[in-house]
């Protein structure tokens, strides 16, 4: 758990961080967001005392961070930054092993931990263990940076725009991986970004900062549906508010019963029916297109044209639009049909409800 109490940073006569109080509970994914220069990095770096606070307190668990020896404090807190800062003269394994080494773990335990983390981040141990940072791709380097931050199993992970410098495709993958790792490890994370979509995708709580002040600290959905003031409203942006909301909604929340071809309900229910094979996998959709003449059509089910329960509704909607169908099959891990989501379903309920 991390708690900031009246945290303030003043440079000369400029108040860069102004009386911020907030709490990120254990296992939560807290995101600090705000326009560039609003004090996000300064706030983050006061937590591991890279910058001394002018006023206020920071609690890590039950400890005031200023009461701990500073190096000891930092070894309990993982830290990953946009520029990564890998040590160019050390191999991937040596980079990941830094904090365990500082904590004087036995060598065998360090080796085990390095392999475990590389596995967790899909880094090929055989290929990459002894590579040097300059031989890595941007995505690989950033994975190593995050793995390094997690190496000594810290209580808290601080991340300052860690995916800001990688291409959008890799960023998505890294975000998914981070979410997976977070679910797996239940670390307390404080994550800085200026990208609202990233915040909405990752955060369990979002702190919106402006000119050093905390404007709103809430769950993502609340931030979207109950913005505290005009600044929040304008920062979220009205244009795609509906889509942003759907990015915090999941397919399983909208999932409906799917009607099979030839079942008793097939004739009574309007619209469309599914054909499944012997293993229960959907093969074909009858009807389900917008125009009447299309209703006779059969649509082959493909991998891309389907949804999983943990997919966001934003993505599901996007797939419906792209494939020009009013319905998507929802499939489980084995590919079996377990339900459907429909355009009517999306439109029939406001996502803020």
């Amino acid at each position: 758990m991390i708690e900031l109490q009246g945290l303030t940073k003043i440079y000369g006569d400029k108040t860069v961080v102004d009386d911020i109080s907030l709490r990120v509970d254990s296992g939560e994914f807290g995101v600090l967001i705000g326009p560039s220069g609003c004090g996000k990095s300064t706030t983050l770096r006061m937590i591991n005392r890279l910058i001394p606070a002018t006023h206020g307190r920071i609690l890590l668990g039950d400890d005031d961070v200023t009461q701990l020896p500073v190096e000891q404090l930092r070894r309990r807190i993982g830290y990953a930054i946009q520029s990564i800062g890998l040590f160019p003269h050390w191999s991937v394994a040596e980079n990941i092993a830094v904090v365990p080494g500082l904590l004087k773990w036995p060598k065998s335990r360090i080796d085990e931990r390095v392999d475990e983390l590389m596995g967790l981040f899909h880094l090929d141990v055989g290929e990459l263990r002894d590579k040097y940072p300059h031989q890595l791709s941007g995505g690989q380097a950033q994975r190593v940076g995050v793995a390094r931050a997690l190496a000594a199993d810290p209580e808290v992970l601080l991340m300052d725009e860690p995916f800001g410098a990688v291409d959008p495709l890799t960023r998505e993958v890294l975000q998914d991986e981070l979410l997976r790792v977070h679910q797996h490890t239940r670390k307390t994370i404080v994550f800085v970004t200026h990208d609202m979509d990233e915040a909405l995708k990752l955060a369990s709580r979002i702190a919106l900062l402006n000119t050093g002040r905390l404007v709103q600290y809430d769950r993502p959905i609340e931030l979207l549906t109950r913005p505290a003031d005009d600044f929040v409203r304008s920062f979220i942006g009205k244009a795609d508010l509906g889509l942003k909301l759907l990015s915090r909604r999941w397919v399983h929340q909208y999932q409906q019963h799917a009607t099979l071809q030839g079942s008793p309900a097939a004739s009574t229910q309007a619209g469309y029916t599914w054909e499944v094979d012997a293993t229960g996998r959907p093969t074909c959709l009858h009807g389900g297109r917008l125009h009447a003449e299309d209703r006779q059509q059969h649509t082959e089910v493909t991998q891309e044209w389907s949804a999983t329960p943990d997919m966001t509704m934003k993505e599901a909607l996007s797939r419906m639009v792209w494939f020009r169908v009013m319905v998507l099959p929802v499939i489980d891990g084995e590919g079996r049909l377990i339900g459907e989501v429909t355009m009517h379903g999306v439109m029939g309920q406001q996502p803020c409800a």
Partner: protein, 401 residues
């Protein structure tokens, strides 16, 4: 007709594959034809009569030189040899050329002096030096093109040095004037050589001891940086003779005032002012390179190190020093070569060293005595440069090589 086309560059790519080698070869051949290979003088104080290579060398010797030159000429071309083969051939032939030139000169001196007056002297001419330096440059160029590793270069160089050393040991050069000067100064040569090394060492040790922390200080404290570099730059602008001379008066006064210092050898002339001046000259490159080395460590790497809980000392020794070391050592390389050269001037204020032969020789108009000081100084500088270059390469961390 087809043969004619084969020689046309249209399909065969460039006609000349290695321009550097071609230029070096052309320079060597022109120099050898136009300049004297050796000089013959009736005694050590008279200037010699130039002797052309075809006269100085026996026919088999200069014919071999010419033959080797032909193969080198083929090595410059895109064909018949593939480029890798051409480079390796260069690495075999260039040293043969060099050794043959060395042997030829010694042999000429030996033959000529047999029926000349005992005072007569044979010394090396301009064409000889060209025949020494051009092959060396060819070898360096070939290694660069091959991209050979340090081990290969080191082994090759050691072998070449050993062969030249063997030629010396065989006594083939004993007829040469410079070796006669060496024979006359045999007792003092070793001593002066060691004095030279000692002066360089005594200057570099303290210069490193002071310069490395100053470089780090310049990195850590921007307010100290300006004045520090101002002072060091000022030292560097004082001409060396002037600096040596400027130190004589205060040091002799100091020596007079404090007899125990005088007992230690500190006085107006001798080693003390020389070492102090050398230290002052060495400081700027050492401090500058140390500063640049530390400044080159990425700020984000340091931030990451701090964020992970390394202590300031751990960051210095585990991160900053390893990453800055190659730059610091290149500073040491500059300073070492510079100090070896400047120490020559120190002989003027009685510090000794190889410079004493040079200034004695200049005083006596005995050019070969000058050579006895100059050639070992140059050799020393080249060897030190080479060794430190290896050290610089070795100090580059695996990840940044």
């Amino acid at each position: 007709m087809s043969e004619e086309r084969a020689w046309h560059p249209r399909r065969a790519g460039p006609f000349v594959a290695n321009r550097v080698l071609l230029v070096l070869l052309a320079a060597a051949l022109m120099g050898v034809v136009l300049l004297p290979f050796a000089a013959m003088a009736p005694n050590r104080l008279m200037s010699g009569q130039g002797v052309n290579v075809a006269v100085a060398l026996l026919p088999w010797q200069w014919l071999s030189l010419a033959g080797l030159a032909m193969v080198l000429a083929l090595c410059t071309l895109a064909r018949p040899f593939p480029s890798r083969l051409a480079r390796w051939l260069t690495l075999i032939i260039a040293p043969l050329w060099l050794l043959l030139a060395l042997y030829g000169l010694g042999d000429y001196a030996f033959r000529t002096l047999q029926d000349a007056s005992p005072a007569a002297r044979v010394s090396q001419g301009a064409a000889f030096w060209i025949l020494v330096f051009c092959p060396v440059l060819m070898i360096i160029d070939a290694f660069q093109r091959l991209g050979s590793g340090l081990a290969v270069r080191g082994f090759y160089t050691a072998a070449l040095v050993a062969m030249v050393g063997a030629l010396f040991a065989s006594g083939i050069f004993d007829g040469l004037s410079i070796m006669q000067e060496y024979a006359n100064n045999r007792d003092t040569f070793a001593a002066e050589f060691l004095t030279h090394l000692r002066l360089v060492g005594l200057a570099l040790g303290p210069a490193l001891l002071v310069g490395l922390p100053l470089g780090l200080l310049a990195r850590r404290s921007p307010s100290a940086r300006g004045p520090l570099f101002g002072v060091l730059n000022f030292f560097q602008t004082i001409p060396s003779i002037a600096l040596f001379a400027l130190l004589v008066a205060p040091l002799s006064a100091l020596g007079e005032a404090l007899p125990w210092l005088k007992a230690l050898g500190v006085g107006g002339i001798g080693a003390a002012p020389a070492i102090i001046a050398l230290i002052m000259y060495s400081l700027l490159p050492i401090v500058r390179n140390t500063y640049a080395g530390f400044a080159g460590v990425p700020a984000t790497t340091i931030e990451a190190a701090r964020g992970m809980g390394m202590t300031a000392r751990q960051i210095l020794w585990r991160v900053e020093v390893p990453l800055a070391l190659p730059v610091i050592l290149s500073g040491l390389r500059i300073v070492t070569v510079q100090a070896i050269g400047l120490t020559v001037v120190a002989a003027l204020i009685g510090a000794g060293g190889l410079g004493s032969f040079i200034f004695q020789g200049l005083g006596q108009y005995a050019i070969d005595l000058v050579m006895l000081g100059a050639v070992p100084t140059i050799a020393l500088a080249v060897v030190a440069d080479f060794l430190l270059q290896i050290l610089v390469s070795l100090s580059k961390p695996a990840g940044t090589r």
